[in-house]
């Protein structure tokens, strides 16, 4: 499960990639629908559809996030005034923290009780979120406190 990869602080430090189960505080899990990452409710018989995320810590509070077994990484991309969440076809273990172009894959985690929020390093103030309704795409919000979007997630190490 654990893979060695290059990371903090000198670029030579070996550290581990760890797979996690992820779900939001409204108990929605992640799954793929038509190339899109969505959050919703899965019955036990459908839980094989659940997407786990691979996490590579590049500093204790900065991480790369990818979809486990898919070679897709979560990214925040700016184009003009628009901020966009996207999945990019990159192998998480190929990412190096020292490259500026990899900043879009970096998320800063912050814990609040048992939950974790992920702020994009490339898009400061924008947090990974799910919609309050089921089956809607995972996206980013810049109003984590005011909006009804869900930005708090539970993580569980996948054994």
């Amino acid at each position: 499960m654990a893979l060695e990869t290059a990371c903090h602080p000198s670029g030579k430090r070996p550290c581990k990639m760890q797979a996690f189960r992820i779900w939001d505080v409204n108990q929605k899990t992640f799954y793929m629908r038509n190339n899109q990452l969505v959050a919703g409710y899965l019955q036990e018989s459908n839980t094989k559809l659940q997407e786990k995320i691979d996490v590579v810590p590049i500093e204790p509070d900065a991480l790369f996030l990818g979809l486990h077994g898919r070679k897709l990484c979560l990214a925040c991309v700016k184009s003009g005034d628009e901020i966009r969440f996207q999945l990019e076809a990159v192998n998480i273990t190929d990412l190096s923290k020292n490259k500026e172009e990899n900043k879009r894959f970096t998320f800063i985690r912050s814990n609040s009780g048992p939950t974790t929020s992920f702020e994009s390093a490339a898009c400061p103030g924008w947090f990974l979120c799910t919609a309050p309704e089921a089956d809607r795409p995972v996206s980013l919000t810049n109003k984590p406190k005011e909006s009804f979007m869900v930005t708090k997630f539970y993580l569980q190490e996948d054994q």
Binding site: K12, Q27, N35, E44
Partner: protein, 428 residues
């Protein structure tokens, strides 16, 4: 982007092609037998397939329900288009895979199409199967299949139909009554009853608090005993009859692996080493029950990373090790000198550990160990040797002086003896 493949699209298509051909020919055969022109008895919307409809495959989710309750099947692709706000006016029709007839059939009162979704109330086990929806508008036509399984309402069915939800031990969290949107649309206040192991949870219960809005149950200070099956029941009035909609949830309680403050337990502040020799200084960090995963541990020399300070590789960091002793977690990274040189004696080596809870450092210096203390070890030995040697010499000298005395004495005695006759002679 990774291309998306609809699961089971291949076999479904081939099965469907046969069905499609059959469905095209069946009404014709049927009409030929009856001798009635097809177009007079088959209304447009009742045609099973018309024109070229693209089959998009089987929906990835299977709907698992219990009999006696309402089931609402959404045509997946049309539903998601609507969700993604790319919806246009479409006409959705339904049929079951094992039948060429449309659902609902004319006499069927248990099934009807409402807002393009297929409603079944009450669902029966016999309703299980694959349903195919056809979505058509002026410019396109496509089809998709979705699977429904209706179970008898038993304990065993819970394993398949329940929604796993996870809360963290010793915290408070929410269980959510899922997938009620078909029944709660345009309703501001939805009330549900919550049960744990079929026992109604009292509203006065301080442990469990039913939260309105999207129906949720707040579980306070989650304990391992809270794990198990919960159900939320919403009541709907249909044609004057009250029907229940039940959702089952399996609460799993996870123990949280928290980050703890890392504590550097070794090395000592001074390490003795001999110049020219190989030296390994392990930096050992204690984390208790905390996770090792996000705790960094590294060495520095005069505030510079080791690989930069020693580009030649004379001093390196060894492999990071993560291990547990008596259920306590540790991390260790060794600093390896190959060999130690005089310059190291004036270098500040620092072990650094860092996670979101704390940043800790420990300084250590290498000191030259004194050369082997020959004088200290040999002086007593020399003394013993001298003493022993002295005794031996003394004994030897004593023995020698004893022999000389005898000879002298003999000589004297002889002299004495020899002198007597002369004396005798003189006496004579």
């Amino acid at each position: 982007m990774q291309s998306y493949r609809l699961q089971g699209a291949g076999p479904e298509i081939s099965t469907f092609c046969i069905l499609q051909k059959l469905s095209r020919t069946m009404p014709i055969l049927y009409m030929l037998i009856l001798g009635v022109p097809a177009f007079t008895i088959q209304p447009e919307e009742r045609t099973v397939t018309a024109g070229n409809c693209q089959f998009l495959g089987k929906h990835f989710k299977t709907d698992l329900m219990v009999e006696g309750e309402p089931v609402v099947l959404r045509c997946p692709q049309a539903w998601y288009r609507w969700l993604d706000s790319a919806s246009s006016h479409v006409n959705v029709t339904w049929r079951k895979n094992d039948s060429t007839r449309m659902v609902p059939e004319e006499e069927e009162t248990r099934m009807w199409v409402q807002d393009n979704a297929l409603w079944i109330l009450p669902a029966l086990q016999g309703d299980s199967g694959t349903y195919i929806c056809t979505v058509r508008n002026a410019s396109y036509c496509y089809e998709m299949s979705t699977e429904l399984r209706v179970f008898e309402k038993t304990e065993a069915a819970l394993t398949y139909i329940s929604y796993p939800q996870i809360l963290t031990l010793s915290t408070s969290g929410l269980l959510v009554c899922p997938e009620l949107s078909e029944f709660t649309r345009n309703k501001t206040d939805v009330e549900v009853q919550w049960y744990k192991d079929s026992v109604l949870l009292d509203q006065d219960n301080e442990k469990f608090l039913s939260v309105a809005g999207p129906p949720r149950l707040l579980v306070q200070n989650v304990s391992m005993e809270d794990a198990g099956y919960y159900s939320c029941v919403m009541t709907l009035t249909h044609n004057g009859t009250r029907v229940n909609i039940t959702r089952n949830i399996e609460l799993r309680v996870q123990k949280r692996r928290e980050e703890t403050v890392p504590v550097i337990v070794s090395p000592r502040q001074t390490i003795l080493a001999s110049l020219g020799s190989r030296l390994i200084i392990p930096c050992k960090v204690f984390l208790g029950a905390g996770t090792q995963w996000t705790t960094d541990l590294w060495w520095m020399a005069n505030n510079t990373n080791i690989d930069i300070a020693y580009r030649g590789g004379r001093v390196t960091e060894g492999q990071r090790q993560e291990y547990s002793e008596n259920n306590e977690n540790y991390i260790e990274v060794p600093l390896i000198f190959d060999p130690v040189i005089r310059e190291d004696l004036n270098t500040d080596f620092k072990c650094v550990t860092y996670n979101t809870r704390s940043f800790q450092t420990l300084h250590t210096t290498v000191k030259e160990a004194a050369t082997f203390p020959w004088g200290t070890v040999l002086a007593p030995l020399l003394l013993v040797f001298l003493v022993l040697g002295g005794i031996w010499m003394r004994n030897r000298c004593k023995h020698r002086s004893g022999k000389a005395y005898g000879l002298t004495a003999l000589k004297i005695e002889r002299q004495v003896f020899q002198s007597y006759p002369s004396k005798i002679k003189e006496i004579k």
